[in-house]
């Protein structure tokens, strides 16, 4: 089993339906709509971390060639929806007030957008922006997490609601840790990480009429964005159109609408022309969220024979001064292992920085670094193999929700991964395995994420040539949503994949939320299935009404009605074969269509639904120089039915790559004297290059979870990264005996 997932010759999997468009440059991204009269906007950012703007001198900029406007709080038109609250309509409640573009003269963080320069070309706008001079009234800022950690507070939502997921949690005996025979007590630190997708955040804003707005916007949800801007501008939602046909990666930073988007819309309104605004790479660090700097402490207690008796898990995550961002850092500690006694305590620390946002594996990836490192530390203390230790504390139902799992095939993941990584080569004693001057280590980490499902609707249209067209407002930020949906439609109808088109990324299409939280296949997939089945129902009725040999269709099950070689048949029978062209002609129609909605059912209350993953890593560390090479990664996922094997494996490999970055490289560092990032481009903020990413072997359990949703999928965008960083950190410990609890693990920490 040494060949890569993609290389398996016998693996039948659809190529990406939009792959050719992407690799030939024909796919159009948000910054690639060359509208007539288009002008360019460049943001000016604050250079202090806290205070107020005393004055803005924009004269030189205004006089610069090609500059059409310099817009700031001084002269920006008032955004009508800003006058009250700017709570995002489609996100869970976050206590506080999202940052409003050019609303007043307050500066909340270094790098905040404070003005925008609009000009006839990008270069002229950039030059104009460089001429804007801003005077500030500085105030003392706080950006240093470590120095201010004592100011961390319970989130307001937990104060209001003791059942909030971020409220303090206790199960069993609160003091069980104190009496545990074997104890681990350790602190873990995850630095700020920035999503940094390849495509920069971009928006092209166009007021087609005084009250009619179209935006080509890099977002993860077209309809959530539509709702947001409709609210901001006091417009009926149907007057706002959001297009995001292609999104060049996002990892969560398109789950929120940010001030730069409103800045472009304001600018378009003021200059009365369509405006394009693309963030710079530096601006991606301060304007579109990040994974928050997080401190964690784990106290873990076990019996000498390897039974967990207590886990106390504390976390403090960074947020901004103006919004309380929270995430589910501690969730998996409550449900992953069969410890009778668990305490979790979640706090946030408000600093003069921008607000974080969910980043791939939000919360869980951070929490898993601590939990799965601690599990490894405990296993080592107990002299028990880390996999054995996890199996000894395996739980067959959710001890948190006290519900049965819908499905859980984590043991299959352990078994497959163990074999594929060559776990038998691992020795318990660190430093025991060498390859020349390199120390060799093996490690593993578990991941989990909720098998989420939302409401979605799909419109489907079938024409007389047997072409199936589907539409949904969902976006595709890279996982291959179109490909998976075409596959589901083909599986449901029997129509060949090359006759199926799935259109997405347009707010005018039927209902969908954000692409986020590993929920797209689980939410949109069932709607595709429902729409296809509704079309088949229509066909069935039409055919049956022909009578004669086709009357048998009346009693056929919808599932059995399939296109076989382009003709409609009752599967598994020698039924009549119906040509769709003839059928439509007989009925004097050119096409049939339907729109079907699908939503979560009551099983959500009866079962606990999670996807699971296991990551294994073989890591080599140079004994003298501390250089680290990840030699092999094996990813095993229990994500329900795998609809599209290629794109699914692609996601797992991408997650492993992100996990390598998290473990070994990524860190956005602030110089606290200035409250300003000092690693804010790709030269300073490292992500893995090809040479850092080894052979990644992917294994899927591929068993359906039809309790979670009718297509049987549990989602895998998040579990692809959750657990990778601890697998690498654990492998480094196994190689060197050095337990690094602060990421990233760089060579200087290992010499």
């Amino acid at each position: 089993m040494n060949e890569a997932f993609f290389d398996k010759k016998d693996y039948k999997s659809l190529d990406r339906v939009d792959g050719r468009l992407k690799v030939t440059g024909a796919a159009r991204y948000s910054a690639e709509y060359q509208l007539s009269g288009l002008v360019y906007a460049v943001l000016v950012e604050s250079k202090i971390a806290k205070g107020t703007i005393k004055s803005i001198d924009s004269k030189a900029a205004e006089r610069a060639p090609g500059v059409l406007a310099v817009i700031s709080h001084v002269n920006a038109i008032k955004v009508p929806g800003y006058q009250t609250s700017n709570q995002h309509p489609s996100e869970p409640p976050v206590n506080g007030q999202p940052l409003r573009a050019f609303y007043d003269n307050n500066v909340y963080y270094n790098g905040q957008p404070v003005a925008v320069v609009v000009a006839s070309t990008l270069e002229k706008a950039q030059y104009g922006a460089s001429l804007v001079k801003i005077q500030y009234e500085k105030e003392q800022h706080k950006t240093d997490f470590d120095a201010n950690m004592e100011s961390a507070v319970l989130p307001a939502q937990a104060k209001k609601n003791p059942k909030s997921p971020v409220a303090d949690y206790s199960r069993g005996d609160k003091n069980a840790f104190a009496n545990a025979p074997v104890k681990i007590d350790a602190e873990y630190v995850l630095p700020t990480e920035v999503h940094n997708p390849m495509e920069l955040q971009a928006i092209t804003a166009h007021w087609e009429a005084e009250d009619k707005l179209t935006v080509y916007d890099k977002v993860q949800g077209t309809q959530p964005t539509q709702k947001q801007f409709a609210k901001e501008w006091n417009l009926p939602p149907e007057n706002v159109k959001v297009i995001a046909t292609f999104v060049g990666g996002a990892f969560g930073n398109g789950l929120h609408n940010w001030p730069h988007e409103t800045a472009a819309i304001i600018a378009a309104k003021q200059v009365k022309k369509p405006v394009k605004l693309v963030l710079t790479r530096e601006q991606m660090f301060t304007m579109v969220g990040y994974r928050p700097y997080t401190w964690q402490k784990i106290q873990m207690g076990a019996t000498k024979d390897g039974k967990l008796v207590a886990i106390n898990h504390e976390s403090v995550g960074q947020t901004s001064s103006y919004e309380e961002f929270t995430e589910s850092t501690l969730q998996q500690t409550r449900m992953m292992y069969a410890s009778p006694n668990i305490n979790t305590r979640y706090r946030i620390l408000k600093l003069d920085v921008s607000t974080p946002i969910w980043m791939r594996g939000p919360g869980e990836a951070t929490g898993a670094f601590a939990l799965e490192s601690a599990m490894d530390e405990m296993a080592f203390s107990l002299n028990i193999d880390p996999i054995e230790f996890r199996l000894m504390n395996y739980t067959d139902s959710d001890p948190d929700k006290q519900l049965p799992w819908s499905t859980k095939y984590l043991k299959e993941c352990y078994d497959a991964g163990k074999e594929k990584i060559g776990w038998e080569k691992r020795k318990m004693q660190p430093g025991s395995v060498r390859s020349g001057e390199w120390l060799v280590g093996y490690g593993m980490g578990t991941g989990t994420f909720g098998a989420n499902r939302g409401v979605a609707a799909v419109r489907a249209e079938l024409d007389a040539e047997g072409n199936l067209l589907m539409q949904c407002a969902i976006t595709d930020i890279g996982p291959g949503t179109g490909t998976a949906m075409v596959q589901i439609a083909s599986n449901t109808t029997g129509i060949a994949t090359d006759k199926i088109t799935f259109q997405l990324g347009n707010s005018q299409f039927p209902k969908a939320g954000n692409q986020g939280g590993s929920s797209t296949v689980n939410s949109v997939g069932p709607a595709v299935q429902a729409a296809c089945n509704a079309l088949k129902e229509q066909l069935k009725t039409m055919i049956a009404s022909n009578g004669g040999s086709q009357a048998a269709f009346a009693s056929a099950k919808t599932d059995d009605i399939l296109f076989v070689n382009g003709q409609i048949q009752i599967a598994g029978s020698d039924s009549a074969k119906v040509d769709i062209g003839t059928l439509f002609k007989q009925n004097n129609i050119r096409k049939i269509e339907t729109t079907q909605e699908s939503k979560p059912d009551e099983n959500r209350n009866k079962y606990s639904m999670y996807a699971f993953s296991m990551h294994f890593a073989e890591v080599h560390v140079h004994s003298l120089t501390g250089q680290i090479r990840v030699k092999k990664v094996v990813c095993c996922a229990d994500a329900g039915t795998i609809i599209s094997p290629k794109t699914a494996a692609n996601q797992m490999i991408g997650g492993a790559t992100g996990g390598i970055g998290m473990a070994l490289m990524e860190s956005a560092i602030i110089d606290h004297r200035f409250g300003r990032y000092v690693t804010k481009d790709f030269a300073e903020y490292h992500v893995p290059v090809h040479a850092d990413v080894p052979h990644v072997e992917v294994f899927f359990v591929n068993k359906p979870d039809t309790l979670a949703d009718p297509v049987g999928s549990k989602g895998l965008g998040e579990i692809a990264i959750i657990g990778v960083a601890p697998a690498i950190a654990n492998a480094i410990f196994n190689a060197t005996g050095k337990r690094i609890r602060e990421l990233p693990i760089t060579p200087d920490k290992l010499i």
């Binding site: 110089d671 300003r676 690693t679 290059v689 040479a691 060579p747």
Partner: protein, 327 residues
């Protein structure tokens, strides 16, 4: 970026003339660093004199030296047969730098002229004496993990970023220039400067002087050489610490040695004391460790780069081991 003039020239003299006529003009070749610096308003030349049409791309043996034209591309030099055969250390160092795409654009002269990657130099909102003399050194008490441990001053603790230059200083190269006052030859070790009170000056080029070539003696370091670069990822990152090592070994005795370090100083850091400690000694780990310890004498660290006191000598030892026993 400010607006600027752009002219092309095809002889060294025309280039020097063109640059001399303007107040604030720069030569441009590959532009792999200068264009970035201009985009960020770190350098604001009013005029660019494009020298790419000047025939300075040759790589040839002239008597007992190898002469490489200033406009030879980094990738072209790294892949050149003569260089691979006679100057394998130079080839290795070039391939350790940047990315394939950048090496295909960047020239030998430009590589020598590249500016530091200090975070504070690169951000116009931050103090930096190199970018804006008198504004202070942001790195001195700031985030200085990548910064210098040798030859620093109160004004600047930035490091020189090139890999190629570490090999060139080890190999006793000479920089050939032409300028308003004619041609001159500068020993490579005297080409770059320490920051002192004038960190805005990276090197000792005179005003309007153009690098035309680099000469490297054919001193037969052809077998026992190694360029070892420690960085935070496997490729496409600047050195945390790097070492260029070249040895002549006969009967396991070191007859001659060249040693230089990158990522530790404002200039490519030649380790002559450590070289002396190697010569005449057996090629053993003990010898290497002794030389490495000597190499670190006089090092001064800052808040975030103290690890270089350990990583530095370890990298020297490993580079020497690799040189002594090439794979």
């Amino acid at each position: 970026m400010i607006q600027f003039q752009y002219v092309r020239t095809s002889t060294p003299k025309a280039a020097v003339d063109a640059v001399s006529k303007a107040q604030n003009a720069r030569f441009i070749a590959g532009g792999t660093n200068l264009v970035d610096l201009m985009k960020r308003d770190i350098m604001k030349p009013e005029k660019l004199v494009d020298i790419n049409n000047i025939p300075l791309k040759g790589i040839e043996q002239q008597g007992n030296k190898i002469v490489i034209g200033a406009l030879a591309l980094n990738s072209q030099v790294a892949d050149n047969k003569l260089v691979q055969e006679k100057l394998p250390l130079l080839s290795q160092s070039l391939n350790a730098g940047a990315s394939a795409q950048i090496r295909n654009m960047a020239t030998v002269g430009g590589n020598m002229m590249q500016r530091t990657r200090c975070n504070y130099f690169y951000d116009t909102a931050m103090p930096c004496n190199k970018r804006e003399p008198g504004s202070g050194c942001g790195a001195l008490e700031g985030f200085n993990r990548m910064h210098a441990i040798f030859g620093t001053s109160e004004k600047c603790i930035a490091v020189h970023p090139s890999d190629m230059c570490i090999a060139l200083v080890a190999l006793d190269a000479t920089v050939v220039t032409t300028g308003p006052k004619g041609e001159r030859r500068i020993p490579f070790s005297e080409f770059h400067r320490l920051p002192g009170d004038n960190p805005e000056k990276d090197n000792n080029l005179m005003e309007n002087e153009l690098i035309t070539a680099v000469e490297i003696p054919d001193n037969a370091f052809t077998r026992n050489v190694h360029y070892l670069k420690i960085r935070d990822r496997a490729s496409y990152a600047f050195a945390v610490v790097s070492v260029a090592a070249a040895l002549h070994i006969e009967n396991n005795t070191i007859k001659d040695a060249r040693l230089a370090m990158g990522g530790v100083s404002h200039k490519p850091w030649r380790l002559t004391g450590a070289e002396k400690a190697l010569i005449g000694k057996p090629a053993s780990e003990e010898t290497f460790r002794n030389a490495a310890n000597i190499a670190m004498e006089g090092a001064k660290t800052f808040k975030y780069n103290a690890f270089k006191l350990k990583l530095g000598p370890n990298t020297i030892v490993q580079a020497l081991k690799n040189a002594a026993e090439p794979v």
